[in-house]
C-alpha cells in the first residue's frame, strides 16, 4: 500500500470509468486465479513426483558415484542443454533456437522484475539493457523452433497441436511485448501500480491499453497451462531418474517401500 500511495500521485491518468472498473475487477480476479493455479499446480506436480518412488537404480551410465557428482552432471544439462549437443546437425539447430529462447526468456523475466519491486533492486537494474536485446532475439529464436517443426518429416510426424499451441502462445507474448514497447506504448507507471496492487493484495485499475490487456491475458493463459503440460520439463530435468540418480548400487543398498 505504501508503494501504491507513492505511485498514485505520479499517475493521475488512471481512468475511473465504470467499464474499466468492471474490467479491472475481472482481471485482478483472473490474475489471482492464474497465479494460484500455477503455484498450486506446480507444487502438486513436484510433490507427486517426489512421492512416486524409483524402485530400481536406473542412471544412464557412465554416471557419477556421488550426489555431488550428480549436481556436476546436471549443471551443464540445465545451463547448456548438454545432451542435445551430443546429437547431429538437427540438434545443433534445435540447440541454438532452444538455448537462445530459454536464455532470452530468463533475461526478459529478470527485466520484468522492475514491475514487481519497489524500490527496484540493483541486480534487476543491471539486466535492463540486456533484457531489451533479449526481447528482440526472443521471437527470432522461437521462429526457428516453429519453422524447424515444418522442415523435417520426423518432426512433422511427432509434432502435436499442443506443441504449436505453446510455441505460438509464447511468441505472441513476446511480440505483443515488443509492440507495447515500441508501438502501442503504455504508461508503465500504471502497469507498475497495477502489478504492485496485485502483489500487495490491494488491487487497482488495470492500465487502459488494449495491447497490454492482450499481453497480460496471454501470460495468464501460460501460467494456467504450465503445470498441466510438457512445460513441467523445467522441473523434470532436475529429477529425471536416469540423470539424477547416483551410480552406487553396490555400495549403497537402494530400497523403496513397495519394492521390498
Amino acid at each position: 500500500m505504501w508503494a501504491i500511495s507513492i505511485l498514485k500521485h505520479q499517475s493521475d491518468e488512471i481512468k475511473k470509468g465504470a467499464f474499466m472498473n468492471g474490467l479491472s475487477s475481472v482481471f485482478n480476479l483472473l490474475a489471482y486465479i492464474a497465479a494460484a493455479v500455477f503455484v498450486l499446480g506446480f507444487l502438486n506436480k513436484v510433490v507427486l513426483y517426489f512421492k512416486t518412488p524409483s524402485p530400481l537404480k536406473i542412471p544412464t551410465t557412465p554416471a557419477p558415484k556421488t550426489s555431488m557428482g550428480v549436481v556436476v552432471r546436471l549443471i551443464p544439462e540445465v545451463l547448456f542443454f548438454r545432451s542435445l549437443l551430443k546429437g547431429g546437425a538437427a540438434e545443433k539447430i534445435l540447440w541454438l533456437g532452444g538455448w537462445v529462447f530459454h536464455v532470452s526468456f530468463l533475461l526478459i523475466i529478470l527485466r520484468h522484475l522492475r514491475f514487481f519491486t519497489y524500490p527496484v533492486p540493483g541486480f534487476v537494474m543491471s539486466f535492463q539493457q540486456i533484457g531489451i536485446w533479449a526481447g528482440l532475439v526472443f521471437p527470432l529464436a522461437l521462429l526457428i523452433l516453429i519453422v524447424r517443426r515444418f522442415l523435417n518429416d520426423r518432426l512433422v510426424t511427432i509434432t502435436l497441436f499442443a506443441d504449436y499451441f505453446v510455441l505460438g502462445l509464447i511468441i505472441t507474448i513476446g511480440l505483443t511485448g515488443l509492440l507495447l514497447k515500441y508501438f502501442a506504448r503504455t504508461n508503465l507507471v500504471d502497469v507498475k501500480a497495477f502489478i504492485l496492487g496485485l502483489l500487495t493484495l490491494s488491487p487497482v485499475q488495470i492500465p487502459d491499453s488494449p495491447m497490454f490487456l492482450i499481453h497480460f491475458s496471454l501470460v495468464l493463459i501460460l501460467l494456467v497451462y504450465f503445470p498441466f503440460s510438457k512445460l513441467m520439463h523445467a522441473w523434470g530435468i532436475l529429477i529425471s531418474p536416469t540423470r539424477a540418480q547416483v551410480d552406487n548400487p553396490q555400495e549403497v543398498r537402494h530400497v523403496t517401500p513397495w519394492a521390498q
Partner: protein, 498 residues
Amino acid sequence: MADFKVPELTGEIITPKVTLGATSGIKPFPANEELMGKVGFPAKKSADWKVKFLAKMGEILKKYKSVRVFLDICVRCGACTDKCHYYLSTGDPRNMPVYRQELMRSVYRKYFTTSGKLFGNLAAARELSDELLEEWITYFYQCSECRRCSVFCPYGIDTAEITMAAREILDSIGIGSKYNLAIINKAETIGNNLGMGGPALRNTLDFVEEEIQEKTGVDVKLPLDVEGADILLVTPSADFFAEPHIFSLEGYAKVFHQAGVSWTLSSHASEGGNFGMFIGNYDHMKTINGRIWKAARDLKVKRVIAGECGHAWRVLYSFSNTLHGPFDFLDPNYRVPQHICDYTLDLVKKGAIKLDKAANDDFSVTFHDSCNVARASRIGNEPGGQFTIPRELINAACNKFVDMAEETIGERTFCCGGGGGVLTDELIEVRVKGAMPRMQALKRVKDSNGVNFFALICAICKAQFTKIFPYYGIEMEEVGGIHQLVGNAIVLGAKEGV
C-alpha cells in the same frame, strides 16, 4: 535367404524418410493360455480388458517415477527420433523413440490427465481400442530396451522404461510374448533359460573339460555345485552349449585354473540372464535373481563373479543389491558381484596369469559395447570402466585392436538389434535390419583394418550376430567373446617363479 530387403553395407548410416507402417506387420508370437497361467498372468484377454489395463497402468504410474515423469515432460523436441537403430533401419515412425512412447502417452492423456479428459483429440488423447492394442504389441516388441535414446534426450527420457511398463501392462491383461515367457518359466522352474537340468549340465561341462584337455593337454576342471568353493561363477546358460559362447566358458575356466583359485558353477543358478527385466516384471526379475543368491548362500562361497552377458550384468550390478541384498555373507573385499573382465584384467595386471598375444595374431579385433553394459551399468571402480576395462583386456590378449567410429561406441553404442527380449525368429526382419547401424560401423573397420574378430561380452549379442552376420555376407565365425581371446592367449602350466 530373406524375404525382406537386407540393408546394403556401405559404411554409412543414413537417416531414412518416414515410412508409415513399414514394420507394422511384425509381431511376437503370443504365449498360449497354459504358458500365461504358468507364469502367473491371466490366460487370455477378457471382455473387461480395458478395466484391467487402466488399473495396471495406474499402479505403474504410482510405482515408477521414471514412467510418470517421462510421460509428463517430453517436449517432443525430436532429438531422439533418429537415434534408434530400428528407426534408422526401417523408417517406421513408431520406431522413433518419442513416437513409440506416444503409444502410451496418448493413453495416459486420455485417462490420467485433466487436459486429455477435457480436450480429447485436441490434446492427442487416444481411447483404448483393439487397434491401439495391436500397435502396442507390435512396437513395444520392436524396442530392445537399449537406452540409446536416453543418451541424447535433454531429460534423459529412457524409452526402455516405457517399453517395460507397456509389456507389463500387456501381460496383465493376458497378452504375453511366447518367447519371453517360456524362458522365464524355464529359468524359474529349472534354473536356466534353456531348461537344461543338472545332469545335462554336468555332461556339457565334462565335454568342455575334454575339449580343453585335447587342445592344450592341460587338465582344466569345470566344477559344478562344489560347496565351500571361493568363487561362484554365474554366466548366461548359452555359454554351456552355443557357439561361440562356449569358447568364452573355456576361457573363464582356464583363467580360474591358472589363477589357482577354487571356483564353482551352480546347477540351481545356472543362468545369469534375467528375462524378468525385459518384460518389466519386478516379481519375476526378483525370483530369477534370487536363485543366484540362494546358490551363493548354499554353496557358502566368498564371492560371485558374472560371466559375459549384457542384461545379466545390468540386473546383477544395478538391481541385485536392491532385490536380495545386503550381501554381508560374502567377502566385503570384493565387488558383489564382480564382472569377469574386471577379475581377469586384475589378474593380468598383477602378473597372476600371463597372456601370449601372439596366439591371437590371426585376428584383427574390434569391440562392440553391449548396451546394457555401456549405458546401464559399470565395470570396476570408475565411471566409464565399462568401456576401458574390456578394451584393456582385449589389448592384453591380442596385438591388433581397433575401435569402430566414435559415434557408434561407448555410451553412444548401437544395439545389436536382438536385445531386450526380441531375440526370436518371428522378429528376424527387425533383428536383421536393427543391426544395420552396427554393421555399417563394422564394415568401415573391416575395410580399413581388415577386422575379422568381433569381440563381445553379451550372450544375446553373440547369438544375434552369429545369426545375422550371414545375412550381411559375413562369416558367423567372426563373432566371439573377449574370454575366447583370453582363452587362446593364456599361458597354461607351471608359473614361473611361483
